[in-house]
């Protein structure tokens, strides 16, 4: 009772804004309770898959995080395919067939994409080899005297030491 009374009072001054507020896109949310599948194992798979799929109308969000209608449709689609008995790979293929490669947040490794996946390890090898060559050079370098200071520096050093 009390709660409703308060809410009524709270609403009153807002009537003026009601029209404006109504114009706002109703905030839809990432994964809604009504989307959740009854089978926890299936739902867990759906969540994992959703994290790898991009919401196409958003700026860089997965469908798992996104509030957009389209993301919701895609989430429901993924769940429908899972319930129909598709494997994870089949679901992904199904979505990619419809929406293109752009939908994948985890890029495939086929075609030119191998460069992307190999870039880190290759660079590590190159950098490691260069580092090793440098280290060998350093360890074999003739043990030169640490270079002497210039006369200016020597005067300055003397001044600091005298203080």
């Amino acid at each position: 009772m009390r709660g409703t009374a308060r809410r009524a009072v709270g609403w009153k001054p807002t009537l003026r804004w009601a029209a404006l507020v109504a114009l706002l896109a109703a905030p839809v949310w990432a994964v809604q309770p009504d989307e959740v599948l009854d089978d926890p194992a299936l739902e867990a798979r759906a969540r994992e898959l959703s994290k790898d799929l991009r919401c196409l109308v958003c700026r860089n969000e997965s469908i798992d995080e996104s509030n957009a209608e389209l993301a919701r449709d895609l989430r429901v689609l993924v769940r429908e395919r899972l319930v129909a008995g598709d494997s994870d790979a089949e679901v992904i293929d199904f979505v990619v067939d419809r929406y293109g490669e752009y939908v994948l947040l985890r890029p495939t490794a086929d075609g030119s994409n191998w460069v992307l996946w190999a870039a880190g390890p290759l660079m590590l090898l190159v950098a490691g080899a260069m580092g090793l060559v440098y280290l060998r050079g350093r360890s074999r370098a003739p043990g030169r005297q640490e270079n002497a200071l210039s006369p200016e520096e020597e005067a300055r050093l003397k001044q600091i030491l005298d203080e």
């Binding site: 009390r2 709660g3 308060r6 809410r7 709270g10 609403w11 001054p13 807002t14 804004w17 404006l20 507020v21 114009l23 706002l24 896109a25 905030p27 839809v28 949310w29 990432a30 994964v31 809604q32 309770p33 009504d34 994290k51 790898d52 991009r54 700026r59 860089n60 997965s62 995080e65 490669e101 752009y102 939908v103 994948l104 947040l105 985890r106 890029p107 075609g111 030119s112 994409n113 992307l116 996946w117 870039a119 880190g120 660079m123 590590l124 950098a127 580092g131 440098y134 280290l135 060998r136 350093r138 360890s139 370098a141 003739p142 043990g143 030169r144 640490e146 200016e152 001044q159 600091i160």
Partner: protein
Amino acid sequence: MITELGHFCLILAFVVAIVQMVVPMIGASKRWPGWMAVAEPAATAQLLLTAAAFGALTYAFVTSDFSLRLVAMNSHSAKPMLYKISGVWGNHEGSMLLWVLIVTIFGAFAAWFGGGLPPSLKARVLSVQAAIAVAFFAFILFTSNPFLRLSVPPFDGEDLNPLLQDPGLAFHPPFLYLGYVGLSMAFSFAVAALIEGRVDAAWGRWVRPWTLAAWIFLTIGIALGSWWAYYELGWGGFWFWDPVENASFMPWLLAAALLHSAIVVEKREALKSWTILLAILAFGFSLTGTFIVRSGLLTSVHAFANDPERGVFILGILALFTGGALTLFAARASAMEARGVFSVVSRESALLVNNILLAVACFVVFFGTLWPIIAEMFFDRKLSVGPPYFNAAFTPFMVILGLILPVGAMLPWKRGRLGRTAWSLRYVFVLCLALAGLVWVMQTGNSLLGPVGLLLGAWIVSGALFDLWSRTGRAGGAGKRLGRLLRLPRADWGKMVAHSGLGITMFAIAGLTAWEVEDIRVTQLNEPFDVGGFTLTLERVERVRGPNYFSTMGFVRLEKNGRKLTVLRPEKREYPVAKMPTTEAAIDYRFLRDVYVVIGDRQDDGGWTMRTYIKPLANWIWGGCILMALGGALSLSDRRFRVAAGARKAPKQGVPAE
């Protein structure tokens, strides 16, 4: 009137910066002391003029002067004062003004506290710093002028994006810019040293405090941004591998590498050309970050102003500075030969491995961020590179880094024996292994992520503590060693604290990812439900009116074992002027875990959708970052830098006539 004065000050600052760019550089090459000395007052004047311009813009925002285009587009008279002020840099033009203000602050500090530098190096450093300022003054004045007026001012403004109406905006960008721009000092030192043709131990010592300061600010800035995302975006994510986040992360990684390689330059006069290259690249990545945010080249949640013309201008600045510096580097790098000799197993080589790992990790982030553009341009594939890629491709480097860190940090300089150092750490390692095993047994499920994260984190932290303790030597009892412990140089303490911070952050990220509990449901009023050992009850929902928004506020009682802990108040807000809804999560912060509650829509049956998360170790992520920054600050306050700074009090010598 004040606006016009601000505009005028900005133009004057531009002119002063041009003078500061040209005159001292000529003076340094001709050895004319008078010309070199111009740099100092010019840097001060530049700072004062830019600060005046910034003050004028702030004044316009505070007084809601809607005749200014920028204020009309990004402010509103009903907006709280804090956001009127922070709104100054909550938009493209204002944030660029903040950027250039920080450039001039760093320039002025180098002028005031750089007394210990040789006059010609100092003149060149300030000249290069002014060149950076000139480029950005030109950018602001010619493409993004914040002081433009409207011929017909509106009655009220269009308000700031509600997601930005948060204390986070007040602190996150300034710290981030202090970091980005702080790296410009390292860049200026590197370019000045290349022109001078001389890099020695002293140079390493001068450049390190600036890099350290920039890195501290970047650490705080990134941590603040991450925390802001955590509580504001409504589902508790803290890192998204978004292009703009990557843009701030890449300079951080390179600055961390630079910090470590500068130690080698300072102590052993080796890795010189590599350190110079890092200094150039670190600032280059800062500029790249600015370019990515402003150009709209990549889609990002942070994209600010998507104006191709501005993008091209910044690309020009980026090409000019990075390209110019790299050309200079190619021409001069061979002149800087290393002096220190050390064996393949030594502290020097350990720091080299650190640098390789950090630089390659940065390269992976860079390549992944740009790959969608490369793929579209050259292979005609439109694709995305998202968090799953970065998690898979980036994390291994951090794991390797974490594993070798405690051993590398204890290797002696010049020549060490890997087996010996590793063997001294055997008890520490066994202890960490036992701890991880214990947790693996205790946790439900058998994911290895949590235990491995704990192993790594505990290994780094205990390794850092062991390192500090072993620095007290073997002689004397525990009491004597304790005494010596307190007298160790602050740099040693800084190293321990910063490394521990890294370990804690690594552990926290793994733990949070592994042990998070999530619950999504429709709940009726006063109907308790359990999540991860807690009992939550939605007691009532109210409409609340804020200064410039309306809110639907839920009151959620949080209990554990029948004992009431707190009442959480998650909100859903609507900002009528900006026409945008936001969710405000309610979080119960505790040492070991956060309880994170979000309220959603009302359902037809009178229930409300609610999402609840139990987030273990969430605070530890940022706690670790704070420790890293604190470690940096301790290191920065080490005596050897203070002595170098104190040296400027010595009577000024005349420059020898040549």
